[in-house]
């Protein structure tokens, strides 16, 4: 009987020949990530039990990305606690504010997470790294502390679900639309406890940015991880980013799946997720008239250079609608510099957008774009739960960067076709 890529990675890290779905295993961890919201609880716990040490200072990554640059005294204290921990243990991968990025964009960009790795992070969107063919999953602060201390965690081997995408992607449809469409199909618990494996000819053509976007939102379907088989696109992406050796795993032809879903994507339109669940999706043609107050383009889901390129294409020569705020957040300092080099800042500023330093800020209702009571935003982020971006009576709609940028121009949720005439 064959094995899936997820099973093979977990078996290799548990030191056994093979594992089956449902097995409880103890796995070695390659990379552990913590950020300014998840790490303080973990550090407190380590100190409390008298175990202020780390299993391997080169395999721990600490990124101040949520409430940074420090939005208030409490966030400053949290970041200070993380910085002091990093100094005390000489953590190799600590990224101060001028080198940082949103962790899930930063770690792939820096070549820190690699195919075949087992990665855990104190953040639910840690599943993003599955875009590179790693097994990556989010954990809470206690598991984070245990992983920092021991370099191991127990896991239940998840069943895998296979998603096969056929056809050709229509214009203005990208990885974000594929994953929203998929979550719309299976629901926010459609892959509960499972691995989502993304395959098919559309996926083979999908650039790394789109793969990272899709893997990022696997957790929004309840999945433990999302994963892509490493291929030519992966190898090209990794070139020049790392010297650490890595292993390529592939699913066997006779691997066992709990479910297989096949989609023909040729007729798919850009998707919009309505409040208050990421599964509440409609194609752009059925959205109707929805005026907006704010647009956010950024986040671990859609803050990479490819996303900003699409936004620039739409915004070039256009202005943001009156009374609408457009907040553009390059996900890393690297993306920021690249966007500047490609001349996007000129386009964004001409359009009356603001450009923020990298931060998770508005996505979690933290800072840099919080919503008032009754306000409505369209955002390229990943969650639209009640109160996610601010007041419990505000609303968040989720979309790809093209729809978000076009909506900023029109002041209501808009098909990019309306703004960019061929």
């Amino acid at each position: 009987m064959g094995a899936t890529i997820t099973e093979k990675i977990l078996a290799a890290h548990a030191g056994t020949e093979e594992v089956d779905a449902g097995d409880l295993i103890n796995a070695k961890i390659d990379i552990v990530m913590g950020h300014d919201l998840s790490i303080p609880l973990a550090i407190d716990e380590l100190e409390r039990i008298g175990a202020d040490r780390v299993f391997d200072r080169e395999r721990i990554v600490l990124v101040p990305d949520h409430f940074t640059p420090n939005k208030d005294i409490t966030s400053a204290e949290n970041c200070k606690q993380m910085k002091e921990f990093a100094k005390r243990h000489r953590i190799s991968h600590y990224y101060e504010v001028g080198e940082m990025g949103i962790a899930h964009a930063l770690l792939p960009e820096k070549g820190i997470v690699l195919p075949g790795d087992v990665v855990v992070g104190g953040d639910s969107h840690t599943c993003t790294y599955g875009g590179l063919g790693a097994f990556a999953t989010g954990v809470g602060s206690s598991d984070l502390a245990a992983a920092i201390l021991t370099g191991e965690l127990w896991f239940k081997v998840p069943e895998s679900m296979k998603f096969v995408y056929h056809g050709n992607l229509p214009k203005w449809v990208d990885g974000k639309d594929l994953i929203l469409y998929t979550i719309g199909d299976i629901g926010v618990d459609g892959a509960l406890y499972r691995a989502m494996e993304f395959t098919g000819e559309v996926i083979e053509q999908l650039p790394m940015s789109g793969r990272l976007t899709m893997a990022n939102m696997a957790v929004e379907a309840g999945a433990k991880n999302g994963i892509f088989q490493p291929d030519r696109v992966t190898e090209e992406y990794l070139r020049g980013r790392t010297r650490r050796p890595y292993r390529i795993f592939q699913s066997d032809r006779d691997a066992v799946y709990a479910d297989v879903r096949e989609y023909d994507v040729s007729q798919i339109e850009p998707q919009v997720a309505f409040p208050y669940l990421p599964s509440n999706v409609k194609p752009i043609s059925q959205v109707g008239n929805i005026p907006i107050d704010q647009v956010v383009i950024g986040s671990c889901t859609n803050g990479r250079i490819e996303d900003l390129r699409v936004a620039a294409q739409i915004l070039r020569g256009n202005k943001v609608a009156p009374y609408v705020r457009l907040i553009i957040i390059p996900a890393t300092q690297g993306v920021y510099r690249q966007a500047m080099r490609e001349g996007f800042f000129e386009i964004f500023l001409d359009a009356n957008a603001v450009i923020s330093t990298p931060t998770c800020g508005p996505c979690v209702g933290g800072h840099m774009g919080v919503l008032a009571k009754g306000e409505r935003a369209i955002s390229t982020t990943n969650r639209n739960f009640i109160g996610r971006m601010g007041h419990p009576q505000s609303e968040v709609y989720l979309s790809n960067p093209a729809v978000a940028a076009a909506s900023a121009v029109k002041g209501r949720i808009t098909n990019p076709e309306e703004v960019v005439k061929n």
Binding site: P40, D44, G50, T74, D123, G140, L192, G365, G366
Partner: protein, 164 residues
């Protein structure tokens, strides 16, 4: 381990942003987390709950973020355990890791209503509803997981191991 208490009822997909919005997650004080518990659904929830009360919810309870303050907040206001049809996986791990027991049961959430008096036995998985005079069967919690709960969560459990 056995718990007895009054039921608070919730529906499907109760997410971590309604359990506790991220803007209140900047502290490490459980009582502070507790003050905002379920704020997205009922801002006064923490004042209504009595120690020992039990949450009964439908599917996918705790979906969303990996924030550990979510189960910590629920535990801090005195909830003794949560019964749901299914739980989101990170929330499931986090709850046991902070010493908050969860029971998965397919049928009980369809019958047990708010205000009912119920008893939950983790050893046997039996849920008794005194208001309905009816019992339901959930999967029991293995003894090693109950040890984790008794120690008050993963870190206390590890601490105990380290000192042995």
């Amino acid at each position: 381990m056995i718990f007895r208490g009054r039921v608070w009822k919730f529906g499907n997909d109760v997410d971590t942003d309604v359990i506790i919005p991220v803007r209140y997650c900047q502290t490490t004080d459980p009582q502070e987390f507790g003050k905002h518990c379920m704020e997205g659904i009922d801002p006064d929830f923490h004042n209504k709950v009595k120690p020992g009360d039990i949450i009964v919810a439908k599917k996918n309870f705790g979906c969303g973020s990996s924030r550990e303050p979510a189960p910590i907040a629920i535990k801090a206001i005195g909830i003794s355990c949560i019964i749901a049809k299914t739980f989101a996986r990170i929330f499931y791990r986090n709850a046991f890791n902070v010493g908050l027991p969860l029971l998965e049961c397919k049928d009980a959430p369809d019958h047990i209503d708010e205000g009912h008096e119920i008893e939950v036995n983790l050893d046997t998985g039996e849920i008794r509803d005194f208001s309905l005079k009816q019992s339901f069967q959930a999967k029991p919690i293995p003894l090693f997981m109950q040890d984790l709960l008794r120690d008050g969560g993963l870190m206390n459990h590890l601490a105990k191991k380290l000192t042995k």
